[in-house]
Symmetry: C2
Subunit: 245 residues, 2 copies
Amino acid sequence: MGYELHYWPMIQGRGEFVRLALEQGGADYVDVAREPSEDGGGIDAMVARMSGESGSENFRPPFAPPFLVDGDLVIGQTANILLYLGPRLGLVGTSEADRIWTHQIQLTIADVVLEAHDTHHPIAVMDYYEEQRPEAAKRARDFRENRMPKYLGWFERVLARNPAGSGRLVGDAVSYADLSLFQLVDGLRYAFPKASERVLAGTPRLTALVQNVGRLPRIAAYLASERRIAFNEQGIFRRYPELDG
Amino acid sequence: MGYELHYWPMIQGRGEFVRLALEQGGADYVDVAREPSEDGGGIDAMVARMSGESGSENFRPPFAPPFLVDGDLVIGQTANILLYLGPRLGLVGTSEADRIWTHQIQLTIADVVLEAHDTHHPIAVMDYYEEQRPEAAKRARDFRENRMPKYLGWFERVLARNPAGSGRLVGDAVSYADLSLFQLVDGLRYAFPKASERVLAGTPRLTALVQNVGRLPRIAAYLASERRIAFNEQGIFRRYPELDG
Protein backbone atom coordinates (compact mmCIF):
# COMPACT_ATOMS: atom_id res chain seq x y z
CA MET A 1 0.00 0.00 0.00
CA GLY A 2 1.31 3.43 -0.90
CA TYR A 3 1.48 6.65 1.05
CA GLU A 4 -1.49 8.95 1.53
CA LEU A 5 -0.70 12.65 1.43
CA HIS A 6 -3.39 14.87 2.92
CA TYR A 7 -3.31 18.54 2.00
CA TRP A 8 -5.49 21.35 0.68
CA PRO A 9 -6.17 20.54 -2.97
CA MET A 10 -6.19 24.07 -4.38
CA ILE A 11 -2.71 25.24 -3.41
CA GLN A 12 0.92 24.17 -3.43
CA GLY A 13 1.37 25.40 0.12
CA ARG A 14 3.38 23.32 2.56
CA GLY A 15 2.14 20.15 0.91
CA GLU A 16 4.35 20.91 -2.08
CA PHE A 17 7.53 20.20 -0.11
CA VAL A 18 6.20 16.70 0.50
CA ARG A 19 4.94 16.25 -3.06
CA LEU A 20 8.39 17.05 -4.47
CA ALA A 21 10.01 14.45 -2.22
CA LEU A 22 7.43 11.80 -3.13
CA GLU A 23 7.87 12.56 -6.83
CA GLN A 24 11.67 12.54 -6.78
CA GLY A 25 11.64 9.38 -4.67
CA GLY A 26 9.38 7.64 -7.16
CA ALA A 27 6.94 6.87 -4.36
CA ASP A 28 3.56 5.26 -4.76
CA TYR A 29 1.23 7.86 -3.26
CA VAL A 30 -2.26 9.31 -3.40
CA ASP A 31 -2.92 13.02 -2.94
CA VAL A 32 -6.15 12.27 -1.10
CA ALA A 33 -7.96 15.61 -1.08
CA ARG A 34 -7.45 15.93 -4.84
CA GLU A 35 -9.16 12.63 -5.57
CA PRO A 36 -12.91 12.53 -6.34
CA SER A 37 -15.10 12.13 -3.28
CA GLU A 38 -16.71 9.05 -4.84
CA ASP A 39 -13.27 7.44 -4.63
CA GLY A 40 -12.85 8.37 -0.96
CA GLY A 41 -11.09 11.65 -1.72
CA GLY A 42 -11.88 15.33 -1.31
CA ILE A 43 -11.43 17.78 1.54
CA ASP A 44 -14.07 15.96 3.59
CA ALA A 45 -11.96 12.82 3.59
CA MET A 46 -8.94 14.83 4.76
CA VAL A 47 -10.89 16.53 7.53
CA ALA A 48 -12.36 13.22 8.70
CA ARG A 49 -8.88 11.75 8.85
CA MET A 50 -7.48 14.73 10.75
CA SER A 51 -10.29 14.71 13.29
CA GLY A 52 -9.78 11.02 13.98
CA GLU A 53 -13.26 10.04 12.74
CA SER A 54 -11.80 7.72 10.14
CA GLY A 55 -8.73 6.64 12.10
CA SER A 56 -7.96 4.00 14.70
CA GLU A 57 -8.37 4.20 18.48
CA ASN A 58 -4.74 5.15 18.99
CA PHE A 59 -4.85 7.87 16.38
CA ARG A 60 -2.43 10.75 16.98
CA PRO A 61 -4.02 13.91 15.62
CA PRO A 62 -1.89 16.29 13.55
CA PHE A 63 -2.36 19.98 14.29
CA ALA A 64 -2.87 20.89 10.63
CA PRO A 65 -2.31 19.64 7.06
CA PRO A 66 -0.10 18.49 5.49
CA PHE A 67 0.00 15.07 7.04
CA LEU A 68 1.12 11.74 5.69
CA VAL A 69 -0.53 8.40 6.33
CA ASP A 70 1.70 5.34 6.11
CA GLY A 71 -0.24 2.30 7.29
CA ASP A 72 -1.12 2.96 10.93
CA LEU A 73 1.12 5.99 11.22
CA VAL A 74 -0.23 9.52 10.80
CA ILE A 75 2.59 12.07 10.57
CA GLY A 76 2.18 15.84 10.65
CA GLN A 77 4.49 18.86 10.37
CA THR A 78 6.15 19.22 6.98
CA ALA A 79 9.76 18.92 8.16
CA ASN A 80 8.82 15.91 10.27
CA ILE A 81 7.22 14.20 7.28
CA LEU A 82 10.43 14.72 5.32
CA LEU A 83 12.50 13.45 8.24
CA TYR A 84 10.42 10.27 8.06
CA LEU A 85 10.41 9.94 4.28
CA GLY A 86 14.06 10.87 3.69
CA PRO A 87 15.64 7.48 4.45
CA ARG A 88 12.75 5.58 2.85
CA LEU A 89 12.99 7.48 -0.44
CA GLY A 90 16.78 7.69 -0.57
CA LEU A 91 16.65 11.46 -0.15
CA VAL A 92 19.07 11.85 2.76
CA GLY A 93 22.53 10.54 3.65
CA THR A 94 22.98 7.45 5.77
CA SER A 95 25.02 8.92 8.65
CA GLU A 96 23.36 10.55 11.64
CA ALA A 97 25.54 13.61 11.06
CA ASP A 98 24.19 14.03 7.53
CA ARG A 99 20.62 13.40 8.62
CA ILE A 100 20.69 15.91 11.44
CA TRP A 101 22.35 18.51 9.20
CA THR A 102 19.83 17.97 6.40
CA HIS A 103 17.01 18.36 8.92
CA GLN A 104 18.58 21.52 10.33
CA ILE A 105 18.62 23.02 6.83
CA GLN A 106 15.02 21.91 6.31
CA LEU A 107 13.90 23.63 9.52
CA THR A 108 15.61 26.82 8.39
CA ILE A 109 13.78 26.58 5.06
CA ALA A 110 10.55 26.20 7.06
CA ASP A 111 11.39 29.41 8.93
CA VAL A 112 11.73 31.33 5.66
CA VAL A 113 8.50 29.83 4.34
CA LEU A 114 6.62 31.09 7.40
CA GLU A 115 8.17 34.54 7.12
CA ALA A 116 7.23 34.67 3.43
CA HIS A 117 3.67 33.79 4.42
CA ASP A 118 3.60 36.45 7.11
CA THR A 119 4.46 39.18 4.59
CA HIS A 120 0.81 39.04 3.51
CA HIS A 121 -0.55 37.95 6.89
CA PRO A 122 1.43 39.83 9.54
CA ILE A 123 -1.51 40.30 11.92
CA ALA A 124 -4.01 37.44 11.74
CA VAL A 125 -3.77 34.26 9.71
CA MET A 126 -7.54 33.79 9.47
CA ASP A 127 -8.27 37.33 8.27
CA TYR A 128 -8.00 38.43 4.65
CA TYR A 129 -4.91 40.08 3.25
CA GLU A 130 -7.09 43.08 2.41
CA GLU A 131 -7.69 43.58 6.15
CA GLN A 132 -3.97 43.89 6.92
CA ARG A 133 -2.49 45.65 3.91
CA PRO A 134 -0.66 48.52 5.62
CA GLU A 135 1.02 46.13 8.06
CA ALA A 136 1.79 43.75 5.19
CA ALA A 137 3.57 46.50 3.30
CA LYS A 138 5.84 47.14 6.28
CA ARG A 139 6.56 43.51 6.96
CA ALA A 140 7.21 42.75 3.29
CA ARG A 141 9.74 45.56 3.15
CA ASP A 142 11.66 44.11 6.08
CA PHE A 143 11.47 40.67 4.49
CA ARG A 144 12.83 41.92 1.15
CA GLU A 145 15.55 44.11 2.59
CA ASN A 146 16.74 42.16 5.60
CA ARG A 147 15.39 38.65 5.96
CA MET A 148 15.59 37.35 2.40
CA PRO A 149 19.24 38.40 1.92
CA LYS A 150 20.17 36.96 5.30
CA TYR A 151 18.52 33.58 4.69
CA LEU A 152 19.54 33.16 1.05
CA GLY A 153 23.07 34.22 1.98
CA TRP A 154 23.14 31.43 4.53
CA PHE A 155 22.06 28.83 1.96
CA GLU A 156 24.79 30.12 -0.37
CA ARG A 157 27.31 29.70 2.42
CA VAL A 158 26.12 26.16 3.12
CA LEU A 159 26.57 25.29 -0.57
CA ALA A 160 30.01 26.90 -0.64
CA ARG A 161 31.13 24.97 2.43
CA ASN A 162 29.92 21.54 1.27
CA PRO A 163 33.26 19.74 1.04
CA ALA A 164 31.85 17.50 -1.70
CA GLY A 165 31.63 20.56 -3.97
CA SER A 166 28.65 18.86 -5.56
CA GLY A 167 26.28 21.78 -5.90
CA ARG A 168 24.00 19.94 -3.45
CA LEU A 169 23.41 21.09 0.11
CA VAL A 170 24.65 17.92 1.80
CA GLY A 171 27.20 15.49 0.37
CA ASP A 172 26.98 14.31 -3.24
CA ALA A 173 23.39 13.25 -3.68
CA VAL A 174 20.04 15.00 -3.96
CA SER A 175 18.36 15.38 -0.56
CA TYR A 176 14.87 16.46 0.37
CA ALA A 177 16.41 19.76 1.48
CA ASP A 178 17.61 20.44 -2.08
CA LEU A 179 14.06 19.88 -3.33
CA SER A 180 12.62 22.14 -0.64
CA LEU A 181 15.13 24.87 -1.36
CA PHE A 182 14.13 24.71 -5.02
CA GLN A 183 10.50 25.15 -3.99
CA LEU A 184 11.32 28.03 -1.66
CA VAL A 185 13.19 29.95 -4.35
CA ASP A 186 10.52 29.17 -6.94
CA GLY A 187 7.96 30.64 -4.57
CA LEU A 188 10.04 33.70 -3.78
CA ARG A 189 10.48 34.34 -7.50
CA TYR A 190 6.73 34.15 -7.96
CA ALA A 191 5.87 36.39 -5.01
CA PHE A 192 8.75 38.86 -5.16
CA PRO A 193 10.08 38.81 -8.74
CA LYS A 194 12.09 42.00 -8.36
CA ALA A 195 13.46 41.52 -4.87
CA SER A 196 14.32 37.86 -5.35
CA GLU A 197 16.27 38.43 -8.57
CA ARG A 198 18.21 41.20 -6.83
CA VAL A 199 19.17 38.87 -3.98
CA LEU A 200 19.78 35.84 -6.22
CA ALA A 201 22.23 37.89 -8.30
CA GLY A 202 24.54 37.56 -5.31
CA THR A 203 24.00 33.84 -4.69
CA PRO A 204 25.27 32.00 -7.79
CA ARG A 205 25.50 28.59 -6.12
CA LEU A 206 21.91 28.80 -4.95
CA THR A 207 20.77 29.90 -8.40
CA ALA A 208 22.56 26.93 -9.94
CA LEU A 209 21.06 24.50 -7.42
CA VAL A 210 17.55 25.68 -8.25
CA GLN A 211 18.20 25.27 -11.97
CA ASN A 212 19.68 21.80 -11.49
CA VAL A 213 16.84 20.56 -9.30
CA GLY A 214 14.31 21.80 -11.87
CA ARG A 215 16.09 19.68 -14.48
CA LEU A 216 16.06 16.42 -12.55
CA PRO A 217 14.03 14.16 -14.86
CA ARG A 218 11.38 13.24 -12.30
CA ILE A 219 11.04 16.81 -11.03
CA ALA A 220 10.88 18.22 -14.56
CA ALA A 221 8.18 15.68 -15.48
CA TYR A 222 6.23 16.53 -12.34
CA LEU A 223 6.46 20.29 -12.92
CA ALA A 224 5.15 19.80 -16.47
CA SER A 225 2.28 17.57 -15.32
CA GLU A 226 -1.16 18.53 -14.14
CA ARG A 227 -0.21 17.27 -10.69
CA ARG A 228 1.71 20.54 -10.22
CA ILE A 229 -0.78 23.16 -9.08
CA ALA A 230 0.04 26.67 -10.31
CA PHE A 231 1.03 29.36 -7.82
CA ASN A 232 -1.95 31.48 -6.85
CA GLU A 233 -3.11 34.03 -4.31
CA GLN A 234 -4.54 31.49 -1.87
CA GLY A 235 -1.16 29.91 -1.18
CA ILE A 236 1.91 30.83 0.84
CA PHE A 237 3.67 32.66 -2.00
CA ARG A 238 1.36 35.32 -3.41
CA ARG A 239 2.06 37.85 -6.11
CA TYR A 240 0.88 41.14 -4.74
CA PRO A 241 2.93 43.69 -6.73
CA GLU A 242 2.64 46.24 -3.92
CA LEU A 243 4.63 43.90 -1.65
CA ASP A 244 7.54 43.58 -4.09
CA GLY A 245 10.05 46.26 -5.01
CA MET B 1 33.77 15.51 27.21
CA GLY B 2 30.39 17.07 27.83
CA TYR B 3 28.06 19.01 25.60
CA GLU B 4 28.55 22.68 24.80
CA LEU B 5 25.37 24.74 24.58
CA HIS B 6 25.76 28.07 22.79
CA TYR B 7 23.07 30.66 23.37
CA TRP B 8 22.58 34.30 24.33
CA PRO B 9 23.48 34.54 28.02
CA MET B 10 20.95 37.18 29.10
CA ILE B 11 17.70 35.44 28.16
CA GLN B 12 15.90 32.12 28.42
CA GLY B 13 14.87 32.33 24.78
CA ARG B 14 15.01 29.24 22.62
CA GLY B 15 18.06 28.03 24.52
CA GLU B 16 15.85 27.29 27.51
CA PHE B 17 14.17 24.36 25.75
CA VAL B 18 17.61 22.79 25.39
CA ARG B 19 18.67 23.70 28.93
CA LEU B 20 15.63 21.96 30.39
CA ALA B 21 16.40 18.77 28.47
CA LEU B 22 20.06 18.82 29.51
CA GLU B 23 19.06 19.37 33.14
CA GLN B 24 16.39 16.67 33.25
CA GLY B 25 18.73 14.29 31.42
CA GLY B 26 21.47 14.90 33.99
CA ALA B 27 23.84 15.82 31.17
CA ASP B 28 27.35 17.12 31.59
CA TYR B 29 27.23 20.46 29.76
CA VAL B 30 28.65 23.95 29.64
CA ASP B 31 26.50 26.97 28.81
CA VAL B 32 29.38 28.55 26.91
CA ALA B 33 28.32 32.17 26.53
CA ARG B 34 27.58 32.40 30.25
CA GLU B 35 31.09 31.34 31.21
CA PRO B 36 33.76 33.99 31.84
CA SER B 37 35.71 34.98 28.77
CA GLU B 38 38.99 34.12 30.52
CA ASP B 39 37.70 30.53 30.60
CA GLY B 40 36.89 30.55 26.88
CA GLY B 41 33.31 31.68 27.40
CA GLY B 42 31.27 34.77 26.61
CA ILE B 43 29.34 35.90 23.58
CA ASP B 44 32.56 36.32 21.60
CA ALA B 45 33.27 32.61 21.97
CA MET B 46 29.79 31.77 20.74
CA VAL B 47 30.06 34.08 17.75
CA ALA B 48 33.49 32.71 16.83
CA ARG B 49 32.07 29.19 16.96
CA MET B 50 29.06 30.12 14.85
CA SER B 51 31.15 31.86 12.22
CA GLY B 52 33.43 28.86 11.90
CA GLU B 53 36.51 30.74 13.08
CA SER B 54 37.02 28.32 15.95
CA GLY B 55 35.71 25.21 14.21
CA SER B 56 37.13 22.57 11.90
CA GLU B 57 37.42 22.65 8.09
CA ASN B 58 34.22 20.71 7.65
CA PHE B 59 32.27 22.95 9.99
CA ARG B 60 28.56 23.18 9.22
CA PRO B 61 27.39 26.65 10.21
CA PRO B 62 24.12 27.01 12.14
CA PHE B 63 21.88 29.87 11.05
CA ALA B 64 21.45 31.21 14.58
CA PRO B 65 21.79 30.26 18.26
CA PRO B 66 21.00 28.05 20.04
CA PHE B 67 23.40 25.42 18.80
CA LEU B 68 24.89 22.42 20.49
CA VAL B 69 28.44 21.18 20.10
CA ASP B 70 29.04 17.47 20.69
CA GLY B 71 32.59 16.62 19.73
CA ASP B 72 32.89 17.37 16.01
CA LEU B 73 29.17 17.87 15.52
CA VAL B 74 27.61 21.34 15.56
CA ILE B 75 23.82 21.15 15.65
CA GLY B 76 21.45 24.08 15.22
CA GLN B 77 17.67 24.59 15.32
CA THR B 78 16.10 24.00 18.72
CA ALA B 79 13.82 21.12 17.71
CA ASN B 80 16.68 19.47 15.85
CA ILE B 81 18.92 19.69 18.92
CA LEU B 82 16.20 17.98 20.95
CA LEU B 83 15.74 15.34 18.25
CA TYR B 84 19.45 14.60 18.63
CA LEU B 85 19.55 14.72 22.43
CA GLY B 86 16.30 12.86 23.07
CA PRO B 87 17.60 9.28 22.69
CA ARG B 88 20.92 10.14 24.37
CA LEU B 89 19.29 11.61 27.45
CA GLY B 90 16.45 9.10 27.71
CA LEU B 91 13.89 11.79 26.93
CA VAL B 92 12.03 10.08 24.09
CA GLY B 93 10.54 6.66 23.46
CA THR B 94 12.50 3.97 21.65
CA SER B 95 10.12 3.28 18.74
CA GLU B 96 10.26 5.32 15.55
CA ALA B 97 6.53 5.98 15.91
CA ASP B 98 7.06 7.55 19.34
CA ARG B 99 10.06 9.55 18.18
CA ILE B 100 8.35 10.99 15.14
CA TRP B 101 5.26 11.85 17.20
CA THR B 102 7.31 13.51 19.93
CA HIS B 103 9.12 15.54 17.28
CA GLN B 104 5.83 16.52 15.66
CA ILE B 105 4.61 17.87 18.98
CA GLN B 106 7.92 19.69 19.48
CA LEU B 107 7.62 21.38 16.08
CA THR B 108 4.12 22.52 16.98
CA ILE B 109 5.45 23.95 20.25
CA ALA B 110 8.08 25.78 18.16
CA ASP B 111 5.29 27.26 16.04
CA VAL B 112 3.56 28.68 19.13
CA VAL B 113 6.87 30.04 20.45
CA LEU B 114 7.42 31.95 17.22
CA GLU B 115 3.88 33.30 17.25
CA ALA B 116 4.32 34.41 20.87
CA HIS B 117 7.49 36.21 19.82
CA ASP B 118 5.76 37.88 16.90
CA THR B 119 3.12 39.40 19.18
CA HIS B 120 5.75 41.99 20.14
CA HIS B 121 7.62 41.89 16.83
CA PRO B 122 5.00 41.56 14.08
CA ILE B 123 6.83 43.75 11.55
CA ALA B 124 10.62 43.52 11.91
CA VAL B 125 12.61 41.30 14.22
CA MET B 126 15.59 43.67 14.36
CA ASP B 127 13.57 46.78 15.20
CA TYR B 128 12.46 47.68 18.72
CA TYR B 129 9.05 46.79 20.07
CA GLU B 130 8.46 50.50 20.54
CA GLU B 131 8.66 50.94 16.77
CA GLN B 132 5.84 48.45 16.10
CA ARG B 133 3.46 48.93 18.99
CA PRO B 134 0.18 49.49 17.09
CA GLU B 135 0.78 46.41 14.97
CA ALA B 136 1.82 44.44 18.06
CA ALA B 137 -1.47 45.30 19.76
CA LYS B 138 -3.41 43.87 16.82
CA ARG B 139 -1.32 40.75 16.49
CA ALA B 140 -1.39 40.09 20.25
CA ARG B 141 -5.16 40.30 20.22
CA ASP B 142 -5.40 37.64 17.52
CA PHE B 143 -2.89 35.52 19.40
CA ARG B 144 -4.85 35.74 22.66
CA GLU B 145 -8.28 35.23 21.13
CA ASN B 146 -7.62 32.72 18.38
CA ARG B 147 -4.17 31.19 18.28
CA MET B 148 -3.54 30.46 21.97
CA PRO B 149 -6.87 28.67 22.47
CA LYS B 150 -6.38 26.68 19.27
CA TYR B 151 -2.85 25.55 20.14
CA LEU B 152 -3.42 24.88 23.84
CA GLY B 153 -6.61 23.05 22.95
CA TRP B 154 -4.60 20.78 20.67
CA PHE B 155 -2.10 19.96 23.42
CA GLU B 156 -5.03 19.16 25.73
CA ARG B 157 -6.42 16.83 23.09
CA VAL B 158 -3.05 15.12 22.68
CA LEU B 159 -2.89 14.53 26.44
CA ALA B 160 -6.47 13.23 26.51
CA ARG B 161 -5.76 10.82 23.66
CA ASN B 162 -2.55 9.37 25.07
CA PRO B 163 -3.64 5.76 25.61
CA ALA B 164 -1.17 5.43 28.48
CA GLY B 165 -3.25 7.95 30.44
CA SER B 166 -0.02 9.00 32.08
CA GLY B 167 -0.41 12.75 32.06
CA ARG B 168 2.60 12.85 29.71
CA LEU B 169 2.34 13.75 26.04
CA VAL B 170 3.76 10.48 24.70
CA GLY B 171 3.63 7.12 26.45
CA ASP B 172 4.47 6.77 30.13
CA ALA B 173 7.74 8.61 30.53
CA VAL B 174 8.85 12.23 30.53
CA SER B 175 9.91 13.37 27.05
CA TYR B 176 11.64 16.52 25.88
CA ALA B 177 8.27 17.64 24.52
CA ASP B 178 6.81 17.58 28.06
CA LEU B 179 9.65 19.81 29.22
CA SER B 180 9.19 22.18 26.28
CA LEU B 181 5.45 22.38 26.84
CA PHE B 182 6.13 23.31 30.46
CA GLN B 183 8.43 26.10 29.26
CA LEU B 184 5.91 27.32 26.70
CA VAL B 185 3.13 27.58 29.26
CA ASP B 186 5.46 29.16 31.81
CA GLY B 187 6.34 31.78 29.22
CA LEU B 188 2.73 32.40 28.23
CA ARG B 189 1.82 32.87 31.87
CA TYR B 190 4.59 35.43 32.21
CA ALA B 191 3.73 37.35 29.05
CA PHE B 192 -0.05 37.04 29.08
CA PRO B 193 -1.09 36.40 32.70
CA LYS B 194 -4.76 37.20 32.10
CA ALA B 195 -5.26 35.57 28.73
CA SER B 196 -3.29 32.44 29.57
CA GLU B 197 -5.21 31.76 32.79
CA ARG B 198 -8.45 32.17 30.88
CA VAL B 199 -7.39 29.60 28.30
CA LEU B 200 -5.77 27.25 30.82
CA ALA B 201 -9.01 27.13 32.79
CA GLY B 202 -10.30 24.99 29.93
CA THR B 203 -7.26 22.71 29.65
CA PRO B 204 -6.98 20.81 32.96
CA ARG B 205 -4.68 18.11 31.61
CA LEU B 206 -2.26 20.68 30.30
CA THR B 207 -2.34 22.58 33.59
CA ALA B 208 -1.57 19.37 35.46
CA LEU B 209 1.30 18.50 33.12
CA VAL B 210 2.90 21.88 33.71
CA GLN B 211 2.60 21.47 37.47
CA ASN B 212 4.01 17.96 37.37
CA VAL B 213 6.99 18.88 35.20
CA GLY B 214 7.80 21.77 37.53
CA ARG B 215 7.94 19.27 40.41
CA LEU B 216 10.34 16.82 38.78
CA PRO B 217 13.27 16.89 41.21
CA ARG B 218 15.89 17.88 38.66
CA ILE B 219 13.67 20.51 37.06
CA ALA B 220 12.65 21.94 40.42
CA ALA B 221 16.31 22.14 41.45
CA TYR B 222 17.21 23.83 38.19
CA LEU B 223 14.39 26.37 38.43
CA ALA B 224 15.51 27.28 41.95
CA SER B 225 19.15 27.64 40.90
CA GLU B 226 20.93 30.65 39.51
CA ARG B 227 21.30 28.75 36.24
CA ARG B 228 17.66 29.65 35.53
CA ILE B 229 17.60 33.14 34.06
CA ALA B 230 14.49 35.14 34.99
CA PHE B 231 11.98 36.08 32.30
CA ASN B 232 12.65 39.59 31.02
CA GLU B 233 11.77 41.98 28.23
CA GLN B 234 14.66 40.98 25.98
CA GLY B 235 13.40 37.42 25.57
CA ILE B 236 10.68 35.70 23.60
CA PHE B 237 8.04 35.99 26.31
CA ARG B 238 7.73 39.63 27.38
CA ARG B 239 5.36 41.15 29.87
CA TYR B 240 3.91 44.18 28.15
CA PRO B 241 0.57 44.68 29.97
CA GLU B 242 -0.91 46.43 26.93
CA LEU B 243 -0.57 43.18 24.97
CA ASP B 244 -2.49 41.12 27.53
CA GLY B 245 -6.19 41.30 28.27
